[in-house]
Point group: none
Chain length 266, copies 2
Amino acid sequence: MLELRLVQGSLLKKVLESIKDLVNDANFDCSATGFSLQAMDSSHVALVALLLRSEGFEHYRCDRNISMGMNLNNMSKMLKCAGNDDIITIKADDGSDTVTFMFESPTQDKIADFEMKLMDIDSDHLGIPEAEYHAIVRMPSSEFGRICKDLSSIGDTVVISVTKEGVKFSTRGDIGTANIVCRQNTTVDKPEESTIIEMQEPVSLTFALRYMNSFTKATPLSSTVTISLSSELPVVVEYKIAEMGYIRFYLAPKIEEDEEETKPQV
Amino acid sequence: MLELRLVQGSLLKKVLESIKDLVNDANFDCSATGFSLQAMDSSHVALVALLLRSEGFEHYRCDRNISMGMNLNNMSKMLKCAGNDDIITIKADDGSDTVTFMFESPTQDKIADFEMKLMDIDSDHLGIPEAEYHAIVRMPSSEFGRICKDLSSIGDTVVISVTKEGVKFSTRGDIGTANIVCRQNTTVDKPEESTIIEMQEPVSLTFALRYMNSFTKATPLSSTVTISLSSELPVVVEYKIAEMGYIRFYLAPKIEEDEEETKPQV
DNA sequence: GACACATGTG
DNA sequence: CACATGTGTC
């Protein structure tokens, strides 16, 4: 028996909006710790890891560990039927092949339940090793989203370079080149508007903008984003989910040869 | 000679927005009583009945009963040229085959007149019998609109079931099932936010969501909607038009056999 | 032209 | 958060 009651239902709606374009089907894993998901994107290039800790739920009952395979598009369709301030409860009976989403309006005058078939999904559950990162950039999520969107109108890849002074996002395409530098600024009153760089050593890595732009769909979940970079390691783009956990996107850098391919012939 | 002056011109604009997708051509009937329309939708499944009583007009002159056939799409195009707070006057000379819409801006600084050709339309004017309804539900029109929209992302038909406790809207489709229950709540301060159920006996009927979603285009006309249901009778979805009348949509329930077709095979 | 999306306002 | 508005897409 599983019963998870989330007062801030809009959180779950936003989580689905941010991953449904990346991943078609995925297993949600439920344990005493929390509600989590780990999945590769459909082209097996990026990885998304979600954690919603049990403490963040108003009511959390999970009698035994359970993995529920869902079609994220269908799940998203159902969650769209929840109001933004509805309370969402996820229910599953033991041995059932369905999951039920219950939406309660704040006034309790409207109660909806949506039942969805579960799927069997091969879970390629990868252990994600803890890693040391050469550079960690924290910046406003909206700014990062804007940068990725802007750069993708010029080129297909972004080079993210971190130095002590700041972080530089660069691209090049047929019509020209673009460089956007964000200086470290910790002096702002509001911490969520500051850009903070923790750097062990300079790093410069290239990524496909297509995936970055997919990751930034999580922008509504957090006002800040954390980008962790190390040579040879996948970048981690993390959006913290207040009081509950996080959603993290992993993407391997393009190696130099790949990058060359996308450059226009001179 | 016909001359109808409507101070709140936006009303007429909204009326046309709410029926032009349903009905292509229709006769507007004008008599001493008021300005009315009754027409089947283009696929002859639903019926729309509009009444704007003469008392609701600032000036109402209709020397003799007249029926004016109009292409609602063209009429809507012209009304879109009126500002939302323009005063609209509808004019027709006796024996003329045109109608004139005059728009006066509130400041009287702009006066526009649009002349439109009338059409000859076979009016399949059905007498609509008064009926006793097993259940009458009044609820916020926005909520009804939202429910129909949400359910149509899951299935094609909606089962509306009324009991003393509330009204339930259900659907099923390939991806799962959905039930939305609205409890009766008369206790709210604002009467337009309450859900009121007058029930003689429980009723449960199935309707095509496609038409319901068309009806809910009338939502801007009224903050509440009234849904009148009886077994074997078409449902009436009514939006009252303040001080003037109503727009009513009639839709026959699907019989059980039709409903089965849409269910997924088990 | 309808619909979905994004944005600004109450 | 709901609503209205404007824009882009199909």
